[in-house]
Structures are given as structure tokens and as C-alpha cells.
Symmetry: C2
Subunit: 405 residues, 2 copies
Amino acid sequence: MSYCIATYRIHDDHADFHKKAQSIAVGMTVGSWTELPQAKRDAMKKHLGEVYAVEVHESPDGSAGTRYADIRIAYPDINFSRDIPALLVTVFGKISMDGRIKLTHLDLSSDFLSSFPGPKFGIDGIRELLGVNDRPLLMSIFKSVIGLSAAELREQFMRQAQGGVDLVKDDEILFENDLTPITTRVRLCIESANIVEQETGRKLLYAANLTGRTFQLRDQALRAIDAGANALLFNVLSYGYDVLQELSADPEITVPIMAHPALAGAMYPSPHYGIAAPVLLGQLMRLAGADLVLFPSPYGSVTMPREENLSIRDELHTTALGVKRSMPVPSAGIHPGLVPKIIRDFGRDVVVNAGGGIHGHPLGTEAGGQAFVQAIDAAMHGVPLSEYAEAHPELKAALELWGGE
Amino acid sequence: MSYCIATYRIHDDHADFHKKAQSIAVGMTVGSWTELPQAKRDAMKKHLGEVYAVEVHESPDGSAGTRYADIRIAYPDINFSRDIPALLVTVFGKISMDGRIKLTHLDLSSDFLSSFPGPKFGIDGIRELLGVNDRPLLMSIFKSVIGLSAAELREQFMRQAQGGVDLVKDDEILFENDLTPITTRVRLCIESANIVEQETGRKLLYAANLTGRTFQLRDQALRAIDAGANALLFNVLSYGYDVLQELSADPEITVPIMAHPALAGAMYPSPHYGIAAPVLLGQLMRLAGADLVLFPSPYGSVTMPREENLSIRDELHTTALGVKRSMPVPSAGIHPGLVPKIIRDFGRDVVVNAGGGIHGHPLGTEAGGQAFVQAIDAAMHGVPLSEYAEAHPELKAALELWGGE
């Protein structure tokens, strides 16, 4: 028999956690068990959830709110269809509303996983598109784009591209609008990217924000690709994982998809409720086919604890999942001084992603990009940033403003 | 100018909440403001978010974790498209990940609302389908259906139907499976419903669980309707509100849609994070077109505070939204003794929904339904249940087991 195993952390000062585990295993699968006649039990056995483990953490000092258990329940694959909505409703549908319970981990069976094609490009595919194999990638984010004219948008793209970034992403709050609809944005940005490529030989991906009504997203994506789009940004959690999977698995959507974590904070930060970040922004994003995944970095103002970040990285990088690896994009609060730390935490298969850390550079956006290029160069050659900065005024100015190693 | 106003509750022991409000208003719209030259400000003014109100609640005793503010930010409609994903990303995308912040309320502009057709049937339409205008409706839930054969499912449906319920709903964890695929379930249940209608004159809606891959849901719904389905159940939060809207607004999907709250517990229960239940399970479900909305009742084991329940009711019932009203379905832990309380809390425009309270009746499922019919009858005539039970053995047995007024 084949199972998917869900791990929950349940906070309760008094509960009999073993009994609770039994009630989840039965209640979320066959509904009732002890009342069933033997013949019926034999027939239903293959549908019954099983308590896989119960690890009780007694309150160290008996203070309220500190006693919890990690409970693992195995759900027979035969009970649900091979899609993320069915998986989530099975393991966390009703039970999400039953007290202080958080879904912290999912071990998915190879049978279940076999239905998921995963990312179309993944880390290696993106590197191939860009022709960059030996270092972290560098991305910059459009800034203050609402209300920008097409010409202003183009100019901002150009300044970012000339700074030496590998990717530029739309702001996730830029929706279809009269000034810069997606096909206009794509044409202008890709045109500018081509100019930079001709000048420098560097390739550039521009992730255009795919928005609108669900059943029109595919057509919208095809229109953007037809206009030249070479990447797409998608607010996955506002649509659902399965919509991402529909798009990523579509043979006509021939560009990488970048998953934005908008709304994720409604689900992962509470210790008592929700879905842990490594599941929400790691495993499920990758399974649904995200080639790149943004999530709050542990470095800046919008923070997430470092160990959670590294667990997201592990979910995106692990070879255990049987699909291509996704590129982690720890975001927010990133400046050039953090580059060595990012590489220590994530290795070279990471996107260094900056908004304010590029646009806010004292010498301007282009210099902001250059400072990051220099920081990555230094870090990859094991040269301390402060030393490298001696001969690189852009990096020097960045370190003076934001600090760093 | 037209705005949608979002209210947040932010917990912070030390923050300058007025400054925080300003930073949300600017950061979630135009990105920067004070640095802009005057000419640019004039052009951008119409895109700028505005602080509408800041209500600081100082900690009464200075103890950590008790200081908070309710902050209201007005977002110009011009910034986002007329769909729920754009709305949610605009008002709670990035900011959801920035500290202890919960989205507690949305005031949507009439301009924004005008793009939403809302429920196709609503309370009045469902009453018309059933021919029941003067009392709460009664629904029962299939129990332990995973692994049931078609014959067993049919038999269970029949017992529920004969008890006098108005609606029967699928278990939300029943996905496409070899034993009882949706078209088989629909045919058997509707056939049984027709038999009961011929015998008793009572109509019955059967909400079949619509599952599978997103881009196939419409076809799946049409197949079910073609097989005779007269209602659909949908796990909205595992797919996204916009998918519900796509289905509910489709002219060929000619049956009421019932929204299940599976996964909602990942978002509403924390006082510090997430989206409040009246927004999550009230306003947005109705806006997306749910004709009936299930949510945890304040009476049973899966509970929600009573005032939150009544706020959901208000969001589903209010005439302010300009679309048809949705039927509230407070669920879990419902037994016949609770009927007078449910009617006091919700009025008669409510679905009394029971699983264990029907199937667990000492005299069987059919008697379980009858006990509820009797309780509703008594309550609508202002007769105390205990008095009515004298001449009604099914109600009497239910009150003896579960208690009640």
C-alpha cells in the first residue's frame, strides 16, 4: 500500500495526543472504525488512515500554551486523486479548523509524485537560458511601477539591465492597466534586453506579471509569449497551486514561471495555525512547477527565521522529489554586503534578488546592479568584499551605505 | 475617486502605528512618495493609498503581546483589476508577511463590486428550487463514504432523503474514484431523490463534490449536470475564489454551488495572522458566487466564537453587497436540541446541517432526519422542543441523547 504522510504540530495543554492522532487518522479517512462490523473493516482497511508517529513535548514548566505534539498520519493514496487540491483537502481540509493545529511537513509517495511533471526548466534550464553556470544569478525588481508610462517603464528596465542583472521581475501588484498592459511591457522590456545583449553579450530574463481571470490566464500567457516574453511572474497563492500546475505543465507555455509568495503570510508565520513555510513555499510550489520561488529572506525587514529559510531551500533543491530543482529567491532587505552570507546559506544555486538594494544605490540604479555583480564576483573568488571594493567604487559606495563583510 | 478600504489588526508592543499605516499606504501602492518631485506627485496622486483611520489600543497593563492597532487603508480602485486575486494581492500580498498583521475587514467600492455577478441562485433561488419559503432548510451529510460501493451510497442517500431533509451533500473528501465517480453518484442520488419526491412531494438537492484539475472543472460540472446534478459542492480555498467565480458565473452551470470551508483553518483562527472568518468565509465566498456557504458553527466541537459566526451571517445576508444573498450553513456538532438557538442566531434563512446528529440518532438515519424536521417545526411554531417531543418519539430520543431546550 502507498501512503502520503502528513505531520502536524498540535498545541494543547491537556489533550490525549495519542487519542487525538487516532481520531484524525479515522476521521479524515473512513469516518468511523470501532463501530464497523469485522467484514466491513476488512473491506475498508485499505482506506483507513494510520497513526505513524506521536511525539509529545510536555510543557517544560507547566506554563499554559507550551505543551504540544508532533503527530504523523499516513493517508492511503487510494483515497484521493493526484492533484494538490485533493491532497490538501485530504490532509488539512476539515482538520485545519479543529483547534491549534499546523501542517508542518508532507512526505509524498512516489506514486503520488509520479503525476507531477514539476518545473519545466528548473535550475539547470534557467542557467542554460541565461548561459550562466558558475555563480548565483542576480535579479532586480521594478520599483514604483503603478502609474508609470510605457516610456518610464522602459527607461527603468534599461537602467536595471545595464547594471548587469540576469533577471528583472515585474512588481507583483502591477495588473492589467491602460498605460502598460502585459504585451506592451513585454515588447518594450524584451526590446531593451535585446539591445543590452547586443552590446554586452549578456542574456536577460524578464518575468512579466501574469494576472486576470483564471480561465483566461493561459491565453494571456500565450499572448505575452507571443509578444516575446521569456519568463512569467505568478501570484500562486491568490489562484491556487493547481492553476500554477496547469500553466507550468502546458506545452505551449515555453518560458520559466516565477512564483511570488504574496498572501503566504496569511498561512505560515503562526506557531499554532496554518501551513509551514517549507511546505507552502518550498515543496508545493516546486511540485506545481515553479521554476523560481520567491520567499522572505532571513536578512531583511520582512524576515523569516533562518532555519525555515534553509528548509525551503532544501525542499527546492532536494533530488528526492524526482522533478527538476527550483531556484530559491530569498527576497527583501538584500544589499551587496549580504552576498557572501547568501552564498554560504544557499550555495551558488540561488537568485540574489534586490529592489531597494539596487534602486537605492547612492550612484543610481545602474551602479546598484554593478555593486551586486562585483559582490558576487568577489564572493565567488573568495575575496573579502571590503578588499574587492578598493578597486570597485560601486561596491564601495554600497558597503558604506548598507554595511557588509 | 473610488477606493476599496482594507482594515488590518496589527499587534506590536512598540511600533509607531501611524508611521506603520503610512508605510503600508505608500508601500502597497506607489512605492515611494516623499522622495518624488512635485510634478511626479501630481501625476501619481490618484494611485496613492491613503490612511483612512488608525485606532491604537494600548496594552491595558503593559504586558507583552497585548498592544495593537486597527488600521484602515484606502486603495485606489484604479490600481487593480476587477478580480479577487488582484484585490487580495493588492491589500494583503506582500504585507501579509510583514509582522503580526491580520486582514480583518474589507469595504469594497460599488465600482469594484459592479464586476461581480454574485450567486446565481442565492437564498431566494434555492428556496424556489425546493419550494420551501417559510422555514430553515435541513441538510444532511454523507458519512464514511470513502470505499462505499454505489449500492451502499444509494442506500445511505435514500435513508437521508426519507428522513425529510431538503439537501444532502457529499463528503468533501470524496474525490473521483472507481467505485462512485461523480456521474454515477449523481445518477443514483437523483434517481432516489425523484422516488422520494413522487412519494412525498418533497424536492431534494444533492450537492455532488466537484473535484479534479482546475481547467477541467467546468467540463466536469457540465458532465455532472448532464447526469442530473441539481447542486455542486466545491472546496473553494483549495482552488481559489476566482475559480469559484468562473464556475458560478458560467451560464451553462445552472445549479447552485455550495462552498466548503476546507483549509480555512489555515487562515482565520490566529488573532495575529491571516484573514478574518467574515471576510474569508462570508464576503469573499458570496462575492465569488457561492449560493450556500458552510462554516464551523459556534455550537459544536469544531467551533468558532459566536460573534464571528454572526459576522459571517451578516456578510452573507446584507443587502449592501448588491448581489444575491448566500445561505449560511453553520456546521459541525449540530443536533436537534440546537435548532431553536440556530434560528435565534441566524433567523430562518439558514441551513440546519447535520452529520452525526442525523446518522447517530438512536433510531437510525431516517429517524435522525425526522427529529430535525420535528425540531424545526416546533421552533417555527414557538413550541418548546420538550413539549413537542411528547408526541414525537424521534425528537424525544434525540433530546434524550444530546439534550436541548
